[in-house]
Amino acid sequence: MAMETTTPEGGPSPTPTPPRRVAAAAPYFLVLPGWLWLAVFFVVPIVSMVTMSLMSGSLVRGFSLTFEFGNYADAVATYWGQILRSLFYGGCATLLCIAIGYPVAYWIAFRGGAYKSTYLLLLLLPFFVSFVLRTISWGFLLADDGVLLGTLKDIGLLPDGTRVLNSAPAVVFGLAYNFLPFMVLPIYAVLERMDHRLVEAARDLYAGRVQAFVRVVLPISLPGVFAGVIMTFIPSSADYINAKVLGGTHNTMIGQVIESQYLVNNAYPMAASITFILMAVLLIGIFSYARALGTEQVMEAQAR
């Protein structure tokens, strides 16, 4: 049944010698285990989450599927603040990542010279420390009487009441910190492969440094930026570790709500509908974005 789909000129290197039937079935044997795994543990869970979001009942009485669409209305009505805040913090962190990550990627790609890989290693080295531990470390570092603020206050550089923790900027900077490599690496990958003579050509044609950048380098690097935006915006707007550690009680993000509804309150239908809303908002946005740019291209840039 699958035989007619694999033509000899189909792949980059056709395998014509073995019997045709086997050759035609080969890709299916290769992908089958991975397919099954992704189907059972990715597609089915999403479906069961959607089903769960339409249930009603409680942990004690049990849950039953009643197509309770009211869960969604309740979720939006109760948690729209946290949803918007998450998107806002995620967006700010993504912009911050571009502002910090682009110059770094540019400098390493163009001026790193023989030390490119060393700089990349230095950039990635901090991320060998566990995500949770890194974030908690920031929390300790920025504590009101900690090493940083305590010392600055002792010298008199900061007034005594200064606080950094439990504020929105602390959360945004924490998010940007944790997801910075996802922005730097795709941009770097694009810039590194770019033909640097193009810049020279632009300069020879009397473009200024700014013009050469805006009209040559920037357009070429945009796919990297797009990939970086996906890779930082999604995880940072759904993250709740940073908000919990650095944001205190007034900067709750939607991930936190989902976690506590699932694991503390056991309000599964409500939790599932919030999760579905978050997923829908993020994935629909991202898919239309990726469609416009070409999924392959974005994934390719991610892989490097």
Binding site: V147, R197, L198, E200, A238, A271, E296
Partner: protein
């Protein structure tokens, strides 16, 4: 996409003069990019330096925030919390198993995606893309929904299943990228010299893919051992290293956490540096 056919770069009169501009320019201006990069690196290393320094802090109790003097006793007592040790071992076991399972499944996927055209290829790419870009909290919530619906008790096994699920696509993409750059003439040569398809795969294709498979496996390992969010949803009563640390924050983190963090960081750093040095020597 190809940039080699840009006319300006090819009909340059004197190729040697053309290599000049970059250094010429940097001699003229201050290299702000360098300072900026170092500043960013300092920012990235700040909490790490703090963590390492405070693993030597002679602190009383578990509120390890102000410097009280140098000590090595936390290193001597590194294993003083049996729970913490168990959690670390759990993390290692799960990460190793994830590396192996996701490594095999992902390599097969990557090989098929890079080499063949087949039905469902677009869907496979799409599902992998979705699995990679879906936020962790969504994956965790969805998996927990499944396990609750199916009445599966969460624990070591569910963590492993989940970790393989969210890492397998990363392996597949890494391997696929390598498959796409393979030179088909090498395999043709092997077959011309009488090798069977299986022998060709074993002696020619596999060795060329090995670096990508290794890299994919290491990515899977790193993602697995570091994961908090998905794991927290599907862990049941089983503790992993990140979960234990998180749980400990409520009562204050013992300095042993800094010690373990420092040791893990040191091992990772040494491995990465050795890897780079070896790569440089080979090149």
């Amino acid at each position: 996409m190809s940039t080699t056919d840009i006319p300006v770069s090819t009909d340059a009169p004197d190729p040697f003069e053309r290599t000049g501009p970059a250094p010429r320019r940097s001699r003229r201006a201050v290299d702000w990019g360098k300072y900026f990069t170092w500043l960013v690196l300092a920012w990235l290393f700040a909490p790490i330096v703090f963590m390492i320094a405070f693993s030597f802090n002679d602190v009383q109790g578990r509120h390890n925030v102000t410097w009280q003097g140098f000590t090595l006793r936390w290193y001597e007592d590194a294993l003083a919390y049996p729970d913490l040790t168990t959690a670390l071992l759990n993390s290692l076991a799960i990460a190793l198993l994830t590396m192996v399972i996701a490594g095999v499944l992902g390599s097969l996927l990557g090989l098929a995606l890079g080499r063949y055209r087949f039905r469902g290829q677009g869907t496979t790419n799409l599902v992998m893309f979705a699995a990679i870009s879906a936020p962790e909290v969504v994956l965790g919530a969805a998996l927990l929904s499944l396990f609750l619906t199916m009445n599966v008790a969460t624990g070591f096994l569910t963590i492993l299943l989940s970790h393989v699920m969210f890492t397998v696509s990363f392996v597949a993409i890494t391997v696929r990228a390598r498959v796409l750059t393979l030179d088909p003439s090498l395999e043709e040569a092997a077959r011309d010299l009488g090798a069977t398809p299986l022998t060709t795969f074993r002696l020619v294709t596999l060795p060329m893919l090995a670096p990508a498979i290794m890299a994919g496996g290491l990515i899977a390992f790193a993602l697995s051992i570091d994961d908090y969010i998905i794991t927290s949803f599907v862990s049941g009563n089983v503790q992993t290293f990140p979960l234990w640390i998180w749980g400990a924050t409520r009562v204050g983190i013992p300095p042993q956490v800094n010690v373990m963090g420092t040791l893990i960081f040191a091992v990772g750093a040494v491995l990465a540096i050795v890897n780079i040095v070896l790569a440089r020597r080979r090149a």
